[in-house]
Symmetry: C2
Amino acid sequence: MNVQDHMWLDPAVLRPLTRTDVYALDLRGGEDRRSIRLRGEILELTGGRLASGVGDDGGVRPNVVLAAGGCGLADDDAFRMSRADGVLRIEGNTSLALLYGFYAYLRDLVLGRVVREGDGRTESPSHPMRMIDHWDQIDGTVERGYGGASIFFGIPGENDNGSYEHERPWNHADPFRNDLGRLTWYARLLASVGVNGIVLNNVNVRGGARRLIVEPYLDKVAELADLFDGFGIAVYLSVHFAAPISVGGLSSADPCDPDVRAWWMHTAKAIYERIPQFGGFLVKADSEGEPGPHEYGRTQADGANMLAEALRPYGGRVVWRAFVYDCHLDWRDRTRDRAVGAYETFQPLDGAFADNVCLQIKFGPVDFQTCEPANPLLHSLRATNIVVEFQIAAEYLGHQIDVNFAPAQWIDVMGQPVDGGSDGVPLSRSLRARALDPANVGYAGVANVGMGAHWTGGVFAQASLYGFGRMCWDAGLSAEHIADEWAALTFPGAGRNAQGKIAAILKSSNRTYRDYTAPLGVGWMFAREDHYGPSVCAFEYDRWGGVNRADRDGVGVDRTSTGSGLTEQYPSALRDLYADPARCPDELLLFFHWVPYGHVLHGGKTVVQHIYDTHFAGVERVREYVAAWDGLRGVIDGPRFENVAERLRMQLDNAVAWRDQINTFFHRMSGVPDERGREIYP
Amino acid sequence: MNVQDHMWLDPAVLRPLTRTDVYALDLRGGEDRRSIRLRGEILELTGGRLASGVGDDGGVRPNVVLAAGGCGLADDDAFRMSRADGVLRIEGNTSLALLYGFYAYLRDLVLGRVVREGDGRTESPSHPMRMIDHWDQIDGTVERGYGGASIFFGIPGENDNGSYEHERPWNHADPFRNDLGRLTWYARLLASVGVNGIVLNNVNVRGGARRLIVEPYLDKVAELADLFDGFGIAVYLSVHFAAPISVGGLSSADPCDPDVRAWWMHTAKAIYERIPQFGGFLVKADSEGEPGPHEYGRTQADGANMLAEALRPYGGRVVWRAFVYDCHLDWRDRTRDRAVGAYETFQPLDGAFADNVCLQIKFGPVDFQTCEPANPLLHSLRATNIVVEFQIAAEYLGHQIDVNFAPAQWIDVMGQPVDGGSDGVPLSRSLRARALDPANVGYAGVANVGMGAHWTGGVFAQASLYGFGRMCWDAGLSAEHIADEWAALTFPGAGRNAQGKIAAILKSSNRTYRDYTAPLGVGWMFAREDHYGPSVCAFEYDRWGGVNRADRDGVGVDRTSTGSGLTEQYPSALRDLYADPARCPDELLLFFHWVPYGHVLHGGKTVVQHIYDTHFAGVERVREYVAAWDGLRGVIDGPRFENVAERLRMQLDNAVAWRDQINTFFHRMSGVPDERGREIYP
């Protein structure tokens, strides 16, 4: 089995903790795929024994009883955990709920949490949809992947992730990697944090991947779907909107064309005959060159609803991305802004989507930058199923080289009240109430794993995957709490002191990365293609609309009513906050406003001095990480120690490059010296 | 035969002009491959007849007699053309000289030049080596190629030039394209302007191309060498300095290792047994990641002389590139500069190279930018065979989309006196006197052709190829003269007025492109990978050392003694000129100096106003080209008219993009408004 790193769920850690356990299953509904998997998990992960019935087992009384059915919980994924007469009882409506409860029990054990006699708790997931989107491609590459080659596709042994834009040779007869051992581990890890849906292939559906929805590839998709189903994870596929042409041989993909509709109906039927538990389709349409309904003069709702109609008989969902914007902008035109695109396109369609369509909306209005406000659509939609999209893969966040615990940013953004006021429901808890079908809302995260030794490139990047699952499950968890959990689960033998140091790095990492990269929300100062490392003006004059508008007098993008008008898309409380440079939160100041370098922030510093200070401070904080990690030599096992140490060295180089380029750029521009006289290259 | 465009040598034009001609050959030395080719050329290109002997042919007296041997010219490539008794007599020492004379005669005919009775002229090439370097790769791609796929390599029918950095599938059994008809045309066109050497493959010798020097590929090289030999063109190969390892299986490529030397001796011997007329090796060593003698602690001379020793028994040459510089610069260190690299490495080795080594030196100290001074090595070497390298392929000069008649720049640079004073021999005529072997000097141009319909992408780019050959042959020709020739030869049916308009575009094109791209010699404001289109700061913070050092106060690179010291590498007259910002030629001001935006140029404008003015003017000049060309609709044949019209439209877009980005950048930086109030985007 090609697994060297079990991340937060290491049997070698669990077995000693569970070796006196006796488990018993009480399944009123009978066995199913998940209950059988649960039995397997008990044997695979614990050192205890599994009783054959519900009572005493060879004279030994079970101390952990998992009971499905008739417990009256409102949510079929929820579980109740309680202890009475020394027996820990995990109850739920379904065998999947027991599986979740079982993983929670294991987590409790490692974390040293105990359910005391007479105590108990119920856990019910905050979001019904807890999805992972893979941007894996049929040739084995992963778009914006930093953890190695695809775990689903590719030729065994070819583990390096190459360029996703130049198709590399692949096995057309069987493009799947067929490393079922590794996939089983992956499914287990996802299920252990509550993930219940997975999209196997990239939203940019290139080449042969368009044929994944038909035989012979569908047969292999079914094999994976069965595997993941055991862990309660539904398999989805990204589809090419023009598949009726590229796969079906029709001359159109017009969603109002009866032949096109018939083709999708037929295709969906064939899929569900083979994979009854198939999740549905993920679609990137009319976006960055991908085909879509706009080509035929149809709306996004026309396109999505056509697919929804085809999937409806089988309970399938259409997950339709809201990432529609003009990617042929002209920097000379200051009235145009990619940030306003999603709202402009989708707000008028609120209520127009079928109830098995989920609109998948990136959390911010731009594109996974280090600092963005919430996407205005997340505030404004009132009758649409929303899935909020996050990118666990650290495309703009340091490529899983630089430590960056992204859940800190995500949780912060989703904590914003939906009405923008001070006492509204937070976005994170607002989705069900605004849905057409409250079962069809949730979160989706773009996967950050691959065939590399530690799954995610740098070991610390595992924390973002873990954290994503945890925040899907429990919207009440703080990023700090999750970081503490991860450190304790991932390095259980390192001791509390070491775990505290590791968690401390995690907790400040998102802020640190932001400090040495994007000043005050300006963003986009990345290398043009790679999106790693600084290139201050790479996007400044480009069609993608990433700009800083820096000149000798000031910097920032006017997104108020005098600029692109993004502020007008927010509820009034937020509009008033963001539109006023005197009130706008510092970290979003340059996202919403062009201000002079001498503008004074709430903390009393000028903008340009803040830029210098944060960039110097960011580097110093990375130096502290390097030193802190170095202090753990011998405490952390060799491979993971070296993995992190190597990446921290790279991160320090990166932070220095950022610091020097950003500081020099703004010093050249502003002419303002650093008031503390530190070295800024001329 | 896969040729749609005969460039400046169209049989359809030549045949009517020659249909009454009777040619006779008088070959005192007997027939050889070139004389047989000459016979074939007379039949292929003219409408006349070729007499079987030297006297009357069936009662018709020859009016063009080509006589080889015994005419006493000093140069075996030279020819004398004279007319007596109504007979045009072309004489030379060799059949190749007659071939050159024959092409000159055809050119004269189309240009309407007549050698009058009793008159005559002798043409003797200015440079013994007149080389074309192909950057073609064994997979059929061409590095920095803008004319389509390789004419030498590739799969028939695959004519698009792909990414040269990602190897595409190729036929390992036979990587050659084998389009001998097209290659014959190419050889003819080159010979018609005097080219006498060609390098088949890229100086970056990647993958399978390293094996071109051995069987079985050598056999195909021999086939091409025989073809080109008929036109007096010697075939060379680029070799990988580490070929003893990568091809020979040795553990070292150390030039002082006896096994390595023996391997090269053996390899050279095998090549010459198969190809007696083989030209030699071209080598890029210790440059941009390529292996070289520095890896073994040896000098460039050690490396070159080892190869020279292996080729010496057969009369072969080593062409050794001087493009050695530090490509891992740090922008923070202002004392380092790639421009000083070649002189630092090679000046100390003056006199140390074997006499069959030619040092191939890029004409400028940097890398084919739109405005550079001459490379200081071209002034300073006193006992080295120099081959000056030009790039006909328009890597930084508009990708053969934008009209850019580069010979204007080349001839200007090579007209600089070798001593830097006002009365010295120009560089162009100084090479033989400073050589160890005066036969081993000359010019090399990086090819700009491919499998595209018109060879060079845009039809106008044919002029740079033509002009390169002409300036190799005759250092006395002005760029204007060559432009006039090319227009008349390429569009002979268009009439003098149209030809004048075309030539006028050509003559101003190099300046026009410079105007809207690189202000005052600053250069490098190109898109990072592509080198087409503007990206002002793409190289500013990069390892390649392309910088502008622009800040709010001024712009330019200090290359004087207070900066990188490049000025100190020039002879005193030039050093004093370049080092003094008050005397430095305007077009090189920012190449050598950082100056404030308000610095006043010799013409009385400030630097920043000059930047605005030239960028506005450049666009207007392109508009004039568009209009002028549009006026030729119906005069120029359809395919070539459309080819140019399409590219002029693209050029206008490009010029506007450059104008707006450069002007905005410097306006943002300087804050200085355009004194004429034209639109500069904020």
